[in-house]
């Protein structure tokens, strides 16, 4: 079976772009600079697929064995 999108694979967590309005709020929580965020490559298949561009912040919803679902934020570079 060929998957049409990487996101269809069960191991690929959901990636979504954090809207520009919500970014300052997020950074306020995590500490001023976006340098503190983990990075994700602009060439990452999941990033290309959702059309994120360099500088965007992604919200990644992962399944977690301890917490059910958990969120990670990454900056596209």
């Amino acid at each position: 079976m060929v998957l049409k999108k990487v996101a269809d694979h069960y191991l690929v967590p959901k990636h979504e772009i954090v809207s520009k309005e919500r970014v300052p709020e997020l950074l306020e929580k995590l500490g001023k600079s976006i340098d503190v965020l983990p990075k994700i490559s602009a060439e990452d298949p999941a990033v290309i697929e959702i059309g994120a561009e360099s500088g965007d912040i992604l919200k990644i919803s992962r399944k977690s064995p301890t917490a059910g679902e958990t969120y990670y934020f990454r900056i596209v570079f």
Binding site: L30, P38, T66, A67, T70
Partner: protein, 868 residues
Amino acid sequence: MLTKKISGIEFSILGPIHIRKMSVIEIKSPETYDKDGYPMEDGLMDHHLGVITPGLRCKTCGQKMKECPGHFGHIELFRPVVHSEFGKRLETLMHATCEKCGRILIEDEKLEELRPLIFNPNIDVEKKILAKTKKLKKCPRCGEAHDTVLLDKPTNFFRGNERIYPTEIRAWAEKIPDSDLEFFGYNSKRVRPEWFVLTVLQVPPINIRPSITLDSGIKSEDDLTHKLVDIIRINLRLKDNIEAGAPQLIIEDLWDLLQYHVTTYFDNNTAGVPPAKHRSGRALRTIVQRLQGKKGRFRYNLTGKRVNFGARSIITPDLNISINELGVPEKVADTLTVPQYLTDENMKDIKQFIKDGKVEYVIRPNGLRKRITETNKEEVLEELEAGFKIERKLKNGDIVLFNRQPSLHRLSMLAHRARVMPGNTFRINPIVCKPYNADFDGDEMNMHVPQTEEGIAEAKELMMVEKNILSPRYGAPVVILDEDGVTGSFILTLESTVFEKEKAMEYLHSIGITELPKPDRGKNYSGKLIFSQLLPKDLNLAYKSKLGKTLEKILSGYVCEPGDKYNTYVQIKNGELITGVIDESSLGEGRGKLVSELAKNYPPEVIANFYDKIGKIVQDIVYKKGVTVGLDEFEMSKEAKSIRTRAIKEEEQIAEKLLKEFEKKTLEIIPGRTLEESFEVKMMQLGARIKSKVETQLMKEKIDALIGENPVFDSKIMIVSGSRGSATNLTNISGLWGQAAVREGRPKKGFYKRLISANKPKDIGVKAGGFIESNFMDGLNPFEYFYHAMGGRQGEVDTGVSTKVSGYLYRRLANSLKDLVVNSDYTVRTPDKRVIQFISGEDKVFSGNSSKGKTMNLKRELKKFKGK
């Protein structure tokens, strides 16, 4: 975190200009001290170079010993000498350039073709130029003759038989233009080749070559100073001879001698140069020797630092001290000191310390130190007041850190209370061996004494043994009773263990109980009663003991529950052990229900107290009851033997059936495996079935002797209580070994189509596949011995390889995680605040305080709630 970043490091060479500019004084005199012991002016110990005598001030910067970093001086050499480390570089330059015009011996056009290649890391331009110029006889630019220069390592240059003197080399090097030097990788702003020939020698500050005053009052100079004295002496003689117009031959001899001294001053192990010797015949340790190698500055002092206020010794066990205590040898306690501030409150105590000779130094608020001796004791006592600091010897109750390498663990370093003892070893309660992974076969451990109030408080509140019973990794006890501890508790709490009044009193007294409880077995006292005295009065627990679980497995139909036949269900009501035995399921690592309850729900003293007291009782019980092992207990009974024969016969029939199916390829195939693999798996299972049948029988026989009125305490008690050994071990000794295994399967590699040459080719039956019917009591037959060796070999390889591999893997992992911190907003971050996890562990749970990874054990809490 990082406020400054290093963008690069540049190395270059000091030229004569730099050396003179850095120098604070020209050293002219070869004498170090005058008759009265004062440093000679312009000598190597001149106070302009810095001070190392307390109280004196530096003549250059005016600062005292501690503040003055030392200053460089210089020596003007009357004849230049080649720096031995750069001989090779000078040689290449002399090969490639013309002595007359100083240019590279290649025409401009061709030379410029090479210029773009200078910074290409894959091309060695120097090599290319040398290949073109080395054999040339004439300079293509000015037509001057070019002869091959020979380097007689390390510093002598010849053209044919004719010597090239350093003066000539220097003049030659000066002529080479900056633009040509770029081809050899020199940055002409930083390095000029004429600097490879020294005209000025730098003299290091006395701080790096201090003189030592021996007990006899004789001053002994540093090796570097000795060498510098030699250089100055020869330099002066050279000067005198030149000025007196001495013959060329004498001057050259002195010049060579100067070259020798300068060469050995830098590196006393230069190839081709005899090392300079001390008067005693010892080779001098000059600059290169100071830095180079295992004992050099880098590997010895910078990467491997050592600490003060530490001690190291062999550890030995002592059951009579608390788990929080550490037996410190008197020798160690008398050497290590603890600083203590004087207040009005502790004045009396400290005065007593001084009277007892337990104080080494008194330090005034202005930092003045005074050593206390018998003679000035009274005087010191008079002037003592609040605000003074004393340094006293280690005494009982001081907090110390104790550590065993490899420190893989947070728990590899714990705080103990010191207890000064005679002898030369550190004494620890064997219960704390677990977190350190220590034993007493010669292990050595390190002790450190915290020197500040903050350090002491931190160690006491965070690192004490009693506060680290629970593992921060999974929240279950890691400081646990093991081996004899569990065996002893098991025996103590067995139904049949009863003590007479006298013995009971002895035990109760040893745990600090002075009021005798009511006897519960007629006139006698049960072990359970004594054990109950160790439990807090509000403890309520109920669970299956290990013995109960074992019985459930062996005796069909038996269920371990309250009120059953063998009383193996543990019930603790209001701190009283009513039924059940205390074994591994109460005390064991991770599973121990009793200890994890005590450690989690009570203050830390409770568990420490429990361990201290039970340790003492258990020791006595194991001695007195005599836990022992004899050969006869491993003799196989007739029943077991017949079960073994029957089991083997039965399974062999199954094996034959399997074999036939396998040949006809009708064998049921396990999903994901081939036919061959399925057959092998089935044969393995078959072997395991035989073994388990025998194992059950053996355990059944052994357990009977335990539950009865007069139990025998031999190896089986260790197996049943879970303190050491397993039923498999027992089966191996007195039952049968079973199937030999290599990599989870039957051994395959050996001879062509068979394992050992005793088998028929292509035989893949039970016995030809490595099944061992014998046990260690009877001994293995030769064929079985070879099968066993195949499995044994893998075991040896595994222990060797996996400890190495997993050790390194763990080290890498631990190092990568060690600086991560959980912040107050629950994010996990690196020291420079980069986020690793947005929520610690994704659920904010600290596993050290959790119940099996969950914040609470709902079931238990509910039960408690219902109970009330």
